[in-house]
């Protein structure tokens, strides 16, 4: 193991010497191993996503009497079943964020910016991200546990023994369910927050008519916002489904490992969604 060179005034500033000195071996080993594991997991997850896309494209009409009801079941679970929770969050966020923003902008005479602020905060950022997090917590967690149990109990091999493709039967319905679920929930969340926000502003006697409020929102929205909202939310849903299904299904699992697989899936999903969100920010800035 190479010795760390002493910090010397003759070698320039101390921080330069620190940068030149080698890191402790254990630290570099740790970071290196972590990065290799991360690259390996990303590679496997990407392969899993491509396989799923391939199965979705080639087998969409196969066994439709069995698989399509499962897709509707997953849409109901990730979309319809989350409506009460999304309704509550929309009302709360509307009161907290929009209501206050409208009130403050009106106080400082910046009413003209209300539409832009609402579209930037809710349509582009908070709506999709919060809907994705709700689906991750309520449906993604359950997905990892269900599929992890299925894997650990050997039911995946039982499906294969019957000639049933586990990706087609177990993963495809969840991918479509979560993608459509996050899209619809984001829309409801945005609409709910916009309405409840105005209600809060109205209760605070803000001198802003509903016509003016919605006119500004309409002016701030472009067709690209709708297209990117659809793309982003469906990508969020797809990522959540692929990551949670991958952690539950794509590797041999013991019953005792299901809990750690769930934690890994939640953290990976969160990081993947935030990373995708950052990519979309670049797109929005280029618009």
């Amino acid at each position: 193991m190479p010795a760390v060179p002493p910090l010397s005034r003759n070698k320039g500033l101390p921080w330069q010497a620190m940068l030149q000195s080698p890191l402790p071996r254990s630290y570099t080993d740790f970071v290196g191993q972590w990065m290799l594991r991360w690259i390996d997991a990303s590679h496997k997850m990407l392969a899993f996503a491509l396989i799923t896309l391939g199965v979705l494209a080639t087998k969409f009409k196969t066994a439709s009497a069995v698989v399509h009801p499962l897709i509707f079941e997953q849409i109901a679970r990730a979309g319809l079943g989350m409506l009460p929770m999304i309704g509550f969050l929309a009302a709360a966020l509307g009161f907290v964020v929009i209501g206050q923003t409208v009130a403050i902008l009106t106080k400082v005479g910046a009413q003209d910016l209300i539409g832009t602020v609402m579209v930037t905060v809710f349509v582009r950022e908070l709506g999709p991200l919060i809907a994705a997090m709700v689906v991750l917590l309520r449906v993604g967690t359950a997905t990892v546990i269900e599929l992890g149990m299925t894997r650990a109990l050997g039911e995946v091999e039982a499906l294969e023994a019957l000639g049933i493709d586990p990706i087609h039967y177990l993963v495809v319905p969840r991918v479509l369910g979560m993608a459509i679920g996050v899209l619809t929930l984001s829309s409801y969340l945005i609409l709910g927050a916009v309405f409840s926000g105005y209600l809060f502003a109205f209760l605070q006697d803000v001198p802003l008519t509903p016509g003016e409020y919605f006119r500004q929102l309409a002016l701030a929205l472009t067709w690209q916002d709708f297209a990117l909202l659809a793309l982003k939310t469906m990508a969020f849903g797809g990522i959540l489904a692929v990551v949670t299904c991958f952690h539950g299904l794509a590797q041999p699992l013991l019953l005792a490992e299901v809990s750690s697989a769930t934690t890994r899936a939640l953290v990976t999903s969160l990081i993947a969604c935030v990373a995708l969100d950052a990519l979309f920010i670049v797109v929005y800035l280029l618009m």
């Binding site: 066994a63 069995v66 269900e146 109990l153 039911e155 091999e157 019957l162 039967y169």
Partner: protein
Amino acid sequence: MTPTPASLIELRGVSIPARQDPDITVVSGVDWRVEDGEFWVIAGPPGCGKSLLFEIAAGLLAPARGTRSVSTPSAAGMTAAASPSPERGIALVFADGGRPFNQLTVAENVALPLRYHRGCRHDAVASEVERLLDWTGLAPHAQRRPAILNRGLRQRIALARALALRPSLLLLDNPLGGLATSQIRWWLNFLANLQHAHHPALPAPAAIAVTTDNLRPWVTLGTHFALIEDGRWRSLGSPTEVASSQHPAVREMLIDPV
């Protein structure tokens, strides 16, 4: 010279890899050929690789070495190359309860392979499912979930599910393991009927293979016997040859359990 009958499955020089590490070979030199009407009993101590052999035969696991060739009988009863349709193919019933799908009812479990491969609703296969449930004695439990049933009944769900596709080769991995005496009797009677009476659930040409670590229940039922021991495949021959075998492992598996 009479032509050799077509095999339903043939493994030649197959080496079986360990489940956790494919670089390790558990059993090597497996030469196994199954023909119509045969009842194979594959014996060996627990953990010797019997289940892995069946997973290779069912196409769930790739052999480390050697070849696996399968022929599935066509609708006309002629032997054809393996087709993508799993009907009349190889069915595997797993050990330890058969791994039924716990989120489905018993009837839904049995209907699933039929519905998936035919792309139809439950109503379209209801009569077939009822028949399979009647044959396997599961009719009273049709609407129950497998999780609340005992191990013997769960194993029967897997059997009914496997028979739904009218396989040409039925692989049963240790079907009697951990079962009560009455359940063992039911299984032996049912398999005897399947084998001898050309049961509609297993139309000819068809064959059955089971694994076991206790040869006694199978001596009257099996037509061909094999042993997996110390990582090697050994054909034991007919029931008479098994009964007269002096091989210590075979003698041990033939004596009364303590």
